[in-house]
């Protein structure tokens, strides 16, 4: 062999080893979001690595099968069931469920209640999905799993950030002129701590399929299958930004989305779809995909032309998922999916585009465990929404879509989820299948206004449909199966917002710079040197504590007295305008929680009365002139109230023996059903009392 050939061979081996070490299940990962960089490997290298791994995997297959057979037999040795199903219906309210059952509208749930069990399920403090589902997964209180709200705060800057995960750009980037070549992968950090029960079951070779259970981005590394849900970003790195194109609007930003112009050309309308920032080329801004709308005025012929493909635009009907490929440079692209809806044709033309979501067939970030599971589901069942909170509530709030379009979107997402869930049930002979449906939560958030106005048709149809789903599920239940249908919290009306920052300001606990009466978002204009307490997010309130917050003012020795004072003043706080109590209770978190992450918890959990919630402005750390104000948004139902008011539901095909079950009891119950003792750090108890 010539010397040159030897060198080339060595280089090939080195590249192969590098690829094997840095590829993630043969997927090309990209950091998406502000200041993004794209990590990718050449397709040839990936192909070669895959080939080698396939050969090795094939040779090892008989030994692996034998080992797995032995292990799985041991895992199920003490099992009391063969199969366990958790059907999660986010926000399914016990009050409404009981009413509809009494009216004979939920036959399948009524049957479960009669033949098995039905009870209310205690939720967490606060009664928020990220908190409650994290407790469901781990069987511990929030001070042990570190999720206290949707938001946590940066103690140095006071700026709130997403509590559940953090995406960081690649830490090594090669700069070549204007080019930025990532030499490492972006990192995605899971901030939910402790250990979910499916990891423990996985160690005992008990298979778990966990579909869209909130707070699962990035997915857990464990011996099982998981598809990420809540907090998975869209391709722009946000929690969901829609695009609204119109012939009569200028470019601009609205809550949860952006507006763009549609330009009239000779025989069509033209627009540009904005994608993620191109961090591969410095200063190049966002990547765009141009598109055209043809025959917009003719419902029979209207079509969308994009990247060489044509999609019919039927009035009032979403397009199928459209695959989008954003080019960042030579050989660099990021893949996304979106649906389009023609919302207006005369006299002006408007087109709505869903948030551009991570393409499950080419995921820019890890969204499943194992990495190929997302691809498998897409190939098998068709592509699907991957965004954490996929139903576009802001598009409805902002009028980019109407009620019918929102409901249609929610239905499409639910159907995708149902296909995945039923597929998992069909293919699971033994083990665990857990799946959470968000539709119940999102539709109640957006349509409680109709229930309040005496029109309960949308909500009733929703509950009936979930009952139908329960009926479908029970087809996979036999004597060796345990089924739980549960929710993380209930629901109530949201008519009035409470701005506790404003109350704190008016009562001398929070100060603004230069004597201003209002602040900007995210505490802009707060004088921290004179501030003793503040709030943001949906459930908590914080002291500005010395030694914890960067500009803390409250001496830790004075904290207990201040806590007591604030609790006394805020409990039963009355809404002067309506005469009603807006805050029922204020709980000191030290009395609620115990665990190693307690210092990250809010100092108080605020128990709003039914009909009240933290105001939209207070949730983003803003001080306004008024403490109480009307909620005028379509988002008209909520559960961010006193957790005692919004328990969830627990239905089972078996007799639940616990008298007052809580969501923390579900993880130890899962272990118990497979004969595995719950670890000492787990606080919940099995809802069954096996002899």
């Amino acid at each position: 062999m010539k010397r040159r050939d030897i060198l080339l061979s060595l280089c090939a081996v080195a590249l192969l080893l590098y690829g094997a070490r840095h590829s993630h299940g043969n997927l090309q990962l990209a950091y998406i979001g502000p200041g993004a960089g794209f990590a990718f490997l050449g397709s040839f290298l990936t192909l070669l690595t895959s080939l080698v791994l396939s050969v090795v995997s094939l040779l090892a297959w008989p030994f692996r099968m034998l080992w797995l057979l032995v292990r799985s037999k041991q895992g199920y040795r003490k099992a009391r069931v063969k199969k366990l199903i958790f059907l999660g219906l986010d926000g399914f309210d016990p009050g409404l469920a009981e009413r509809f059952m009494a009216e004979g509208k939920l036959p399948n749930l009524s049957r479960l209640k009669e033949q098995g069990s039905y009870t209310k399920l205690r939720t967490t403090f606060p009664s928020l999905s990220p908190v409650a589902w994290s407790t469901f997964a781990t069987g511990v209180n929030p001070a042990k799993h570190n999720i206290f709200d949707f938001l946590n705060r940066d103690l140095k800057t006071y700026v709130p950030e997403l509590a559940s995960s953090k995406v960081r750009p690649p830490h090594r980037i090669l700069k070549l002129g204007k080019w930025r070549i990532p030499l490492s992968r972006p990192s995605v950090e899971m901030r939910r701590k402790s250990e979910p029960f499916w990891k423990i079951l996985g160690r005992h070779s008990i298979g778990c399929t966990v579909l869209r259970l909130p707070i699962s981005f990035p997915p857990d590394e464990f011996n099982g299958r998981q598809l990420s849900a809540m907090s998975t970003p869209d391709l722009r790195g946000t929690q969901g930004s829609f695009s609204h194109f119109s012939t009569h609007v200028e470019t601009g930003h609205v809550e949860g989305g952006s507006r763009y112009p549609l330009r009239r050309a000779a025989d069509c309308l033209e627009g540009d779809l904005e994608g993620p920032e191109n961090a591969f080329v410095e200063g190049s801004g966002a990547m765009h995909i141009p598109f055209r709308i043809l025959h917009a005025e003719d419902p029979e012929r209207a079509s969308l032309e994009l990247q060489g493909e044509s999609y019919p635009l039927r009035p009032g009907e979403y397009t199928p998922w459209v695959r989008l490929r954003f080019h960042g440079g030579v050989g660099v692209s990021v893949h996304g999916i979106a649906r389009f809806l023609l919302t207006q044709t005369v006299p002006e033309v408007s087109l709505y585009c869903t948030p551009i979501q991570i393409d499950p067939e080419s995921p820019a970030l890890p969204i499943s465990q194992p990495a190929y599971y997302a691809i498998y589901l897409s190939k098998l069942l068709g592509t699907y929404a991957t965004l954490g909170m996929a139903e576009d509530t802001w598009a409805l709030n902002e009028g980019a879509i109407d009620d019918d379009a929102f409901l249609q979107q929610a239905e499409l997402i639910k159907c995708e989820r149902e296909s995945m869930f039923l597929n998992a049930l069909q293919h699971t002979r033994r083990g665990v299948v857990a799946c959470v449906f968000d539709t119940t939560d999102r539709v109640q958030h957006m349509f409680y206004r109709r229930l309040d106005a005496g029109d309960g048709r949308v909500i009733e149809a929703l509950y009936r449909d979930m009952d139908r789903l329960v009926g479908e599920t029970t087809k996979y239940v036999d004597d060796h199966t345990a089924l739980f249908v549960l929710s993380d919290h209930g629901f109530c009306s949201f008519k009035r917002g409470v701005n506790l920052n404003s109350w704190l300001h008016q009562n001398g606990y929070l100060a603004l710079l230069d004597g201003a009466r209002e602040s900007g978002d995210y505490f802009e204009g707060i004088d921290w040197s004179r501030t003793r307490a503040y709030t943001f997010g949906l459930g908590g309130m914080y002291l500005n504590l010395k030694g914890r917050e960067a500009k803390g003012t409250v001496d830790p020795k004075d904290a207990a007295a201040l806590r007591k004072e604030l609790i006394a003043k805020l409990t039963n706080l009355r809404d002067e305008e309506t005469g009603k109590v807006g805050i029922r209770n204020v709980y000191a978190s030290g009395a609620l929680y115990q665990g190693p992450y307690l210092s990250a918890a809010p100092d108080f959990i605020v128990g709003y009365a039914a009909g009240y919630r933290t105001s939209w402005e207070a949730a983003v750390g803003k001080v306004t002139a008024r403490v109480f104000e009307d909620n005028k948004k379509a988002w008209s139902g909520d559960h961010c109230v006193d957790p005692l008011l919004v328990p969830g539901v627990l239905f089972s095909n078996r007799k639940v023996q616990a008298e007052d079950p809580g969501i923390e009891d579900m993880a130890p119950t899962a272990l118990d059903l497979f004969g595995i003792e719950a670890p000492a750090w787990m606080e919940g108890k099995s809802v069954f009392r096996f002899a």
Binding site: L155, E161, L162, V167, K193, G237, T238, Q239, M389, C640
Partner: protein
């Protein structure tokens, strides 16, 4: 993704005992928590613009 770090055996034994009492699910979680707390003192925070962009579209927030 995990990686191995060599630590003093006695230290890990001590950490093991404490982690259980403190409510951690494992000694690894305990050690990671301590490292995270220390790193927070040294690492830069995200800019407000970056944070606001990441939170955009979260239904519960305006």
């Amino acid at each position: 993704m995990k990686t191995a770090v060599k630590l003093n055996k006695t230290l890990v034994q001590r950490a093991s005992r404490i982690s259980e009492h403190a409510g951690y699910s494992s000694v690894e979680e305990f050690i990671e928590h301590i490292i995270e707390k220390e790193l927070a003192h040294f690492e830069d925070s995200d800019s407000k613009e970056e944070v606001v962009k990441k939170l955009k579209g979260l239904g519960y927030l305006e």
